[in-house]
């Protein structure tokens, strides 16, 4: 029963932590509404479908539901045309007793650049979320301070997450140091759950057992949550190992959503742990029902799945995070370089031995852009053999010569020095410390020389050890809001403004989409949202504004001059819609835009050029500001068109008796330049 949920919104962090401690076994966070969809369906799972899980969640006895954050924001705005704010409102209504959880980056939040403190505070304080799982792709705990403070001040639950990977430098000692910093930041372990975030799914069961054990030895009272992806195929045993070592909370997703790169399946996890003697706090029948509900709609998302199928144990080398898998492969497919993916993954695995950080946003994007760019460049210039020789060179450098440039042949050295020349600006900012300190120290000098060329020393001197929180200057929120208002031509809501702060261009696009197509993205069933109505007689039923609606396809006409007429029957009323194809022929009407261009204030017809006093006008004539230069008649009223400045007529864009529309360009004037 929902009112008996052990974990509910509104509980104090301390209360929540104590409740977890009292569990005989483990509790579960379902990632079905966020990370599951991100990792296997490119974040395309729509709230229209996800909300059907809410009534189940309400009774499943979850610790929390991860429903928000990560790339779900950006994809929502850009592709699903849904606002994360709408989603929260809907979920709060449908599962009021479930703790909602987000995933947030420490300074770039749900966008892709480090934000100054005032933006972070403003955004974080306006989002209705209970648990804030926060990570740094550098494990630079200093960067978390602002979010941590705002969340804790609001009495909500700040959940620090240790970015995890398996590498020679990523030792228990290293992680304990990170955990120490986090515990300090949060003032002890009484009010926090410590998350181990294994975003690529690379932690082998024994490695995870060791790490959890080490953390608990240092902090016996600490509540640990293990989040991992299944990419390596070892998700379930790793979760069991974590639980056996003392982790109290585990992340899982509905089995019917499970493909390859998301979290392990929740029912399997339940069975596996219980068999091993670890009680799982979960309403099994309700969870089975949820899994079945998801099965009913997930079949409509075939188009959103990764073109790369199957688990991939080599992830332990290339470390591509589960959340980036389908989108990277999609990019490769669209870019026509899917066949290069194995080589790109290989280069990634060698790359991350040269520069050390965690492959998760925004780091994973830097790795991806650098490595996929380089491999593509090689493939174009030297073919597959060229790519293979690059891999051989990187392998030799990292494995045979201990990353000692001087032990390479001169031509090899020259080639390697080219490696970072095309790296993206974000990567250059990264190695200059703009995102914070790198977890295993700065890269070797040659990386700077490769990235910055002759001026590398100059650049290196600018490298900073400071946290971006301290080095990024506050932004003028009022000015930014005014920018958005100007783009929209109305005062934005708080929510529109926050979306804009994260994703300026895509937010404006989405708002315009919603202006044009209303709630199409919210109310239409997924198959119709994606592909429309296929043939005459096909119908779609939906509910909007609390009323039922039916749209029936009558016919799709032939294309004519780039336009197609579509006849639909909308609630029994037939209507014709005109659809513009990319081939639409448009007669372009020039509009007045610049100060020296005179536009028509009204739709009407030009009945007089010039004015009665001076008569007609010609190009080259001098006119004076305020002088009547044409007159437009509309609905039997005369409208004076006056010169907007004193100058010569450079162009007369209309003729007598022309019909003109509002804003249409009538004259181009040229300011008189005084000549000596």
């Amino acid at each position: 029963m929902s009112d008996k949920n052990m974990f509910r919104p509104g509980m104090s962090p301390k209360d929540l932590v104590n409740k977890v401690r009292s569990l005989p076994g483990v509790g579960i966070t379902s990632t079905g509404m966020r990370d599951a969809g991100q990792s296997d369906f490119k974040n395309r799972l729509r709230i229209h479908d996800l909300e059907t899980l809410a009534p189940h969640y309400e009774r499943m006895d979850l610790f929390s539901a991860e429903v928000h954050g990560g790339a779900r924001w950006h994809v929502g705005i850009m592709n699903r045309r849904e606002s994360p704010f709408e989603e929260i409102v809907l979920l709060r209504e449908k599962m009021p007793n479930v703790i909602l959880q987000t995933l947030v980056r420490e300074t770039s939040l749900w966008g892709y650049r480090p934000y100054p403190k005032n933006v972070i505070k403003y955004v974080i304080s306006q989002v209705d979320i209970d648990i804030w799982r926060c990570f740094s792709f550098l494990n630079d705990v200093r960067n978390m301070r602002t979010i941590c403070e705002v969340v804790m001040e609001r009495g909500l639950h700040f959940q620090p997450a240790v970015s995890f990977t398996q590498a020679d430098w990523a030792t228990n000692e290293y992680y304990i140091k990170v955990v120490d910093d986090m515990v300090d930041l949060c003032g002890g372990v009484e009010e926090i759950v410590m998350c181990i975030k294994d975003m690529a799914g690379v932690g082998s069961p024994e490695r995870i057992r060791e790490l959890v054990d080490a953390m608990l030895q240092k902090y016996p009272e600490m509540v640990i949550q293990y989040h991992r992806h299944s990419t390596d195929g070892l998700g379930l045993p790793a979760l069991l190992a974590a639980a056996q070592a003392g982790a109290k909370l585990l992340d899982a997703q509905e089995d019917s959503l499970t493909r390859f790169y998301g979290q392990p399946p929740i029912l399997s996890l339940h069975a596996y742990l219980e068999e091993a003697g670890i009680p799982v706090h979960l309403n099994r029948p309700e969870t089975e029902a949820a899994v079945q509900t998801a099965r009913e709609w997930i079949r409509h998302y075939g188009w959103a799945e990764s073109p790369f199928k199957g688990t991939d144990h080599t992830v332990v080398q290339h470390r591509m995070p589960g959340g980036a898998f389908p989108s990277s492969f999609e990019q490769a497919e669209q870019g026509g370089f899917l066949h290069l993916m194995p080589m790109i993954l290989k280069v990634m695995s060698l790359y991350n031995r040269i520069v050390h950080y965690f492959d998760v946003t925004p780091g994973s994007q830097m790795t991806w852009v650098t490595c996929s760019g380089t491999v593509n460049r090689y493939a174009k210039e030297f073919g597959l053999a060229g790519v293979n020789s690059l891999i051989a060179l990187l392998t030799k450098f990292t494995e045979e010569v201990d990353q000692d440039l001087d032990r390479l042949y001169p031509d090899e050295k020259t080639e390697l020095m080219e490696f970072f020349t095309t790296a993206p600006g974000d990567f250059k900012n990264l190695i200059l410390g703009r995102y914070g300190k790198l977890p295993a120290g700065w890269p070797a000098d040659w990386v700077y020389e490769s990235a910055f060329g002759d001026r590398w020393k100059e650049q290196l001197a600018k490298r900073s050890d400071a946290s971006p929180l301290d080095s990024t200057r506050d932004e003028d929120l009022d000015a930014l809001r005014a920018d958005l208002a100007a783009k929209l031509e109305w005062e934005p809501t708080e929510e529109e403004f926050i979306l804009y702060l994260m994703h300026p261009k895509d937010t404006v696009d989405m708002i315009h989409f919603r202006e044009e197509y209303g709630e199409a993205s919210i109310v239409l069933p997924t198959s119709v949202w994606h592909s429309g109505l296929a043939k005459p007689g096909d119908t779609v039923d939906f509910t909007m504004m609390n009323k039922p609606h039916t749209v029936e396809m009558v016919s799709v006409g032939e294309e004519h001059e780039g336009y197609i007429s579509v006849v639909l029957r909308i609630n029994n009323q037939t209507r014709v819609f005109t659809v513009e194809t990319p081939r639409a022929v448009k007669t372009e009407i020039r509009m007045a835009r610049a100060a020296n261009e005179v536009g028509s204030p009204i739709t009407g017809s030009i009945w007089r050029l010039g004015n009665p006093k001076r008569g007609d006008l010609a190009v080259g004539d001098v006119v004076h500001e305020g002088e009547e230069i044409a007159n437009i008649e509309a609905m039997k009223m005369e409208n004076v068109i006056a010169a907007t400045l004193t100058g010569r007529i450079a162009e007369i864009c209309i003729q007598l008796n022309d019909s003109v529309i509002e804003g249409q360009l009538l004259f181009v004037l040229e300011e008189e330049i005084e000549e000596e």
């Binding site: 395309r44 850009m78 592709n79 188009w303 109305w490 044009e516 197509y517 209303g518 709630e519 199409a520 109310v523 239409l524 119709v528 949202w529 994606h530 592909s531 429309g532 109505l533 296929a534 779609v540 939906f542 909007m544 504004m545 009323k547 609606h549 749209v551 396809m553 799709v556 197609i564 579509v566 639909l568 909308i570 609630n571 209507r575 819609f577 659809v579 194809t581 204030p601 009204i602 739709t603 009407g604 017809s605 009665p612 009547e628 509309a634 609905m635 039997k636 009223m637 005369e638 004076v640 019909s659 509002e662």
Partner: protein, 487 residues
């Protein structure tokens, strides 16, 4: 006196709402009708509503609806023995009235001489002064900007002032001037507009009354001088000097003032030797409660319907009676308004810029339900040509009191009315009738100009139907073009 003469067939020399309105009464009285139409009106609503229809020329009004010979010829060809001019076009053209009568046809309107006399604003002023009706300080002696400025100087009248076409009406040839440097352009514009619209560029100059309210009295007289009034209409809500919302009774008048103005209107009507229906317009200075004679409209007014709603009389029918020479069978005591009525003019105009909007009415749903009256010149599928005025439809509401009438209007506009294909004033009209100052009866002729920003701000109120159509547009696109590239 020619005695009574029965109308056998009535030619309506008009189009759109006016023609449709007149034909409705003709149907009630079983009088067959003839419509005339220009080329772009070939499939117009009035053309099919009439019993016979005659094409009279091309789009420009001078070739069609102002083409007197052609209209008379059409009357003869179709066996029409009477002509009703409606409003606008030839309605206040004394020469045409005379032509009609000289041709032996019945003119459904006042005598030609009265039309001429009242059509000349200068002469009307003189008559009003003679009849003891107060007039606005002004002069008829203006041919140039210099004349105008000199008169102002001599008579001590300050800006703003109003320049009016002597032959004007309906807001055309009417220009407000606030500064001396605007005078020249204003004089030229008023004169040119008047020349074009009425064939007479003569002007008069008057002091502009700020915070003015526009009150008009409906009068009715038979051919033997029996004259009554049907009380007032308030037409203060205007933009660009054209009425947008009218109501009866006026919320600005005390009962005492009402009786006084109405009596003045009847006196003036008698002094004119008027018959048929007519309107005496006054400006009421709300600061001083003084009223001034403005002009007489020697025709049926667009807004006559609200008077019909509060009194129960059919003014077109009474006009026909008067034209047929019947003696007025109504005494002043018979006229007992017992309701409040409002009218809005649904023009095909952009509600923000107030610029005209043309095109095809792709979808139309007219208001319905209790206490709603609609006079529509269009139908679903009709086109709105750019050559004529932009009135699509008159929507009227009635109620026991002003608040009831406003609530009915709110329902009619907000819930039932739907016009697609052209832009209409609907959002602006809704904004106005919901505005607290308007609801409180506190407004002047500059209400729209003064509040336009606030009124426009209140526009964004999408209806469920609009929202549904947006979704349907998406469905049409995705069905025709396949999955969208960004999805």
């Amino acid at each position: 006196m020619s005695g009574t003469k029965k109308i056998e067939r009535l030619l309506v020399a008009n189009r759109g709402v006016a023609a449709v309105r007149i034909m409705h009464t003709c149907r009630d009285r079983k009088i067959p009708t003839t419509a005339v139409y220009s080329t772009p009106d070939r499939l117009g609503r009035h053309v099919f509503m009439a019993d016979k229809s005659v094409h009279i020329g091309e789009a420009p009004p001078v070739e069609s609806y102002l083409n007197m010979e052609k209209i008379l010829q059409s009357a003869f060809e179709t066996g029409s023995n009477a002509i009703h001019p409606g409003w606008g076009f030839l309605a206040e053209n004394g020469a045409f009235a005379r032509m009609v009568m000289d041709a032996g046809l019945i003119w459904v309107g006042p005598p030609p001489d009265v039309i001429d006399g009242m059509g000349d604003k200068a002469q009307a002023r003189k008559l009003a002064i003679k009849a003891g009706v107060p007039v606005i300080p002004g002069t008829e002696d203006v041919t140039s900007a210099a004349d105008a400025l000199k008169w102002m100087d001599d008579s001590g009248v300050d800006f703003p002032i109003m320049i009016k076409a002597v032959a004007g009406g309906g807001g055309r040839g009417l220009v407000r001037v606030d500064r001396p440097e605007e005078m020249e352009q204003a004089v030229n514009q008023a004169s040119s507009e008047a020349e074009k619209a009425f064939g007479n560029g003569d002007l008069i100059l008057e002091k502009f009354i700020e915070n003015a309210r526009h009150i008009e009295i409906q009068v009715l007289a038979d051919q033997v001088g029996n004259t009554v009034h049907l009380y007032e209409r308030e037409c203060t809500i205007q933009r660009r000097n054209q009425k947008v919302i009218e109501e009866a009774p006026s919320p600005s008048l005390t009962e005492e003032l009402r009786q006084e103005i109405c009596a003045q209107a009847v006196n003036l009507t008698k002094a004119m030797g008027y018959h048929s229906v007519g309107t005496v317009e006054f400006i009421l200075d709300s600061a001083t409660n003084k009223y001034y004679f403005l002009e007489v409209n020697t025709r049926l007014q667009v807004e006559h319907g609200i008077t019909e709603l509060i009194t129960g009389y059919d003014l077109v029918s009474l006009m026909i009676d008067a034209a047929e020479g019947k003696t007025l069978g109504i005494s002043q005591e018979d006229i007992k308004p017992n309701r409040w009525a409002m009218e809005v003019r649904l023009n095909a105009e952009d509600p923000e810029t107030l610029g005209p909007s043309f095109g095809r009415i792709s979808r139309l749903r007219t208001p319905e339900g209790p206490n709603v009256r609609v006079a529509s010149g269009i139908y679903q599928g009709a086109s709105v040509p750019p050559y004529y005025d932009s009135l699509l439809m008159l929507i009227m509401s009635a109620g026991h009191n002003r608040e009831d009438a406003l609530n009915v209007m709110d329902r009619a506009l907000g819930r039932s009315l739907r016009v697609e294909g052209v832009k209409t004033l609907k959002p602006l009209l809704i904004s106005i009738i919901r505005h607290p100052a308007f609801r409180a009866g506190d407004f002047s002729t500059s209400f729209i100009d003064e509040n336009i920003k606030e009124l426009i701000k209140a526009f964004r109120e999408p209806t469920a139907e609009d929202e549904l159509l947006k979704i349907a547009q998406y469905l049409a696109e995705v069905s025709a073009l396949g999955p969208r590239s960004w999805i």
